[in-house]
Amino acid sequence: MVSDDAKPYGVAVMKPDSSALDVKGLTKRFDRLAVDSLDLTIRAGEFYALVGPNGAGKTTTLRMVAGLLRPDAGAVSIFGIDALADPVGAKQVMAWVSDEPMIYDKLTPLEYLEFVAGLWGIAPATSEPVAQDLLGSLGLEAHRHERCEGFSKGMRQKVALAGALVHDPRLIILDEPLTGLDAVSARHVKGLLSARVRAGCTVIMTTHILEVAERMADRIGVIASGRLVAEGTLAELRQQNGHADTSLEDLFIALVTLQAAA
């Protein structure tokens, strides 16, 4: 049973909008400018990869979108919900997964998923079978009643990912989710994310593994010095750069070098 303060997911008041994420003039300064008047639009049901060199502002951008960091200026809209004016409404439809899996050592994966489902106000009758399915599809079924304290980094990352999916978000934001995963685990995660996108979910992911971006993403955004320096499908990026058969890695290096020189 879900109490009054727990809105079932998907009922947040949303304006009809084909964009899942709309970022306008997003700015954040620490000791230097980390994100510089960034504009970004991601369509609903899209797999979007954000790539860029270290310190380009990828994580800062995504943390502002997820509500973990207050921007100095700009606007963030998630499925038409103003994330700065109505953070609770925006958070109801999205999930965040960081590169460092933050889970509770003293909880089992199933207890963790029960807690996450409770935080998002999902009824146990809905969340429990979803949790069991997720743990099964991520290869954690045998460990579902073991406390996470002895888990490897890959297992912990999979538990964190299951937590992000258990409340069936419409927008999933992932910051380097494949860091530290072995090939089998990485394939599990990629498969799960692709399946979500096919089911209509929107995914935005930062990655240093350009091959992943190249293979999985519908569109790729290249960020450098806090600015979006290029954006589009791989074919569009190649066209913009004037090389029809070049790899994303070559494109990336060319774009980033150009930005650094500017």
């Binding site: 049973m1 973990l68 960081s98 509770y104 029960e114 996450v116 998002w120």
Partner: protein, 508 residues
């Protein structure tokens, strides 16, 4: 590199690490604070001479030979200090086993592991001894100033106690590993450390309550009946007391015994130290605790948060040992309450400050674990609920836990003295709320496992929390005895909490 050179090189490395850890603890990890830390430490040491004078000053004139009662009091004081050192040593040894920071490097090096771990054992003994010397110096100073240079021998007794406490702590911990395995040793060792640290004082209090109906420990120590059972004045049991008073023969024997004990432990256990450390490291990768299957539970988001916090608190080994220690400290007042149930004895009044202070201390620890010690801050921050709702749920958990622990004691007190129970309940609530508020104002983002370092993140918060607990305990006691003084004490404590808020980073 010769073996001797390698050993001295590793000893220097261990000492450097120990020094830097201690320095970071003193300065809160900020090198710029070094001067402030040194001045603060000197002031604290100077201030400690005052309570030392009050507690021990009257013993300065004692001369050998002593009567049995004096020998009992001095020996009991030395034994109490030794149990505290043993408690701290067990905690240090357990920490060394489970912190695998440089274990892989040491294990994979071509150096002889037995030698390296002998140095590590010696380093633990040195750390325990130095800390004991630091805390005992004001007390020994008072004795030297009042009774002469012969009391300098007490430093030697402290060194002997530190070495023997470290040796026994290592033996106990390694034996625990062999008997119950690495999975349970951590928790049991923490509980054992808590019981050993508090056990002797509590046992004395219980004996005093049962025999004389008072919490005063010295009543039992100075009693004629104990003296009648005690060994003769020339027995070896009194060596520590005689050594502390300047008997050089006894002192040399004590030091020799402590060194033999430590050497024996190094010889017997340094090989096992390596095995034990490997087991502890492997436990992190293979030790899995399973829980039974049960269906998901529903409820509000706040309920989900509260359930999670309760579950984590219940499974926290530190909290179990600390709660056990607090509960152990509550045994004597509970016993006093039971003995004086039908009386309106003044002794009953002593219960109130003890439980009020325990509530404040426990609430501070619980509040840190729930508010600052959030292992998944991003998850909670991205959940669809207001930050104020998260904080409220966490505070509720602290207050519910305090109510569950102290409620039964206050209820029992209500049967004996309703007015005292009401004052105690009010003071427990205010003390717990103050400690929780201080933790809230000074909250930092940390992992639960960093609990040991909570006191170094803000000295102001640490002292404010301690003084608020003491202040509210004094207020409650005074309200029962001298209501006007109680009101003044309450006002002073409230001002202290307000000043703490004024200087808190959350206010900025």
């Amino acid at each position: 590199m010769s073996s001797a050179t390698a050993l001295s090189w590793f000893a220097r490395h261990e000492l450097r690490l120990a020094w830097r850890e201690w320095f970071a603890m003193m300065t809160g990890g900020r090198r710029k604070r070094a001067r402030v830390a040194v001045v603060g430490l000197l002031c604290f040491a100077a201030l400690l001479h005052l309570p030392a004078w009050a507690v021990i000053g009257r013993f300065a004139d004692l001369q050998l030979p002593l009567d049995k009662s004096s020998l009992i009091v001095i020996s009991a004081t030395i034994f109490l200090a030794w149990t505290l050192m043993l408690s701290q040593a067990i905690e240090s040894v357990t920490r060394v086993f489970y912190a695998r920071a440089d274990l892989d490097l040491i294990m994979s090096s071509p150096a002889r592991l037995a030698n390296l771990f002998s140095v590590r054992i010696a380093s633990i003994a040195l750390t325990v001894t130095v800390l004991a010397l630091l805390f005992s110096t004001p007390f020994i100073d008072v004795l030297v100033i009042g009774g002469g240079a012969r009391w300098l021998a007490a430093f030697g007794v402290v060194i002997a106690m530190g070495l023997s406490a470290a040796a026994i702590a290592i033996a106990i911990t390694i034996l625990l590993f062999r008997l119950i395995g690495p999975a349970r040793t951590r928790l049991i060792a923490q509980i054992l450390a808590a019981i050993i640290g508090a056990g002797f004082v509590i046992a004395l209090q219980i004996a005093a309550i049962m025999s004389y109906g008072t919490l005063a420990r010295f009543t039992i120590l100075t009693s004629g009946s104990l003296a009648a059972y005690a060994p003769d004045v020339d027995s070896i049991w009194w060596w520590p007391a005689r050594a502390a008073m300047g008997d050089h023969e006894a002192l040399l024997l004590l030091l020799a015994l402590a060194l033999v004990l430590l050497g024996g432990v190094m010889a017997i256990f340094s090989h096992r130290f390596a095995d034990t450390a490997i087991d502890a490291a492997a436990y992190g990768a293979s030790g899995r605790v399973r829980t039974r299957e049960r269906p998901f539970r529903g409820g509000s988001r706040q309920q989900a948060l509260r359930r999670k916090e309760f579950m984590l608190l219940w499974r926290d080994p530190w909290l179990i040992s600390q709660t056990l220690m607090q509960l152990l400290y509550l045994v004597p007042p509970a016993l006093l309450l039971w003995r004086n149930f039908a009386d309106s004895s003044a002794a009953l009044t002593l219960i109130t400050p003890v439980i009020v202070m325990a509530a404040g201390q426990l609430a501070g620890g619980l509040a840190w674990l729930t508010i600052s010690g959030e292992d998944a801050p991003d998850l909670v921050a991205t959940a669809p609920l207001m930050p104020s709702g998260v904080i409220r749920a966490k505070i509720e958990v602290v207050l519910i836990a305090i109510a569950a622990i102290f409620g039964p004691l206050v209820a029992a007190l209500a049967f004996a003295s309703p007015s005292q129970a009401a004052i105690s309940a009010g003071a427990i609530i205010v003390s717990a709320a103050s400690a929780t508020a201080i933790q809230l104002w000074f909250r930092v983002q940390a992992r639960r496992s960093q609990f040991r370092r909570r006191q170094t993140s803000s000295r102001l918060a640490t002292f404010a929390e301690a003084f608020s607990s003491i202040g509210w305990a004094a207020t409650a006691a005074l309200l029962l005895a001298l209501p006007l003084a109680g009101l003044i004490s309450g006002l002073i404590t409230a001002c202290l909490v307000a000043i703490t808020w004024r200087f808190s980073p959350r206010r900025a």
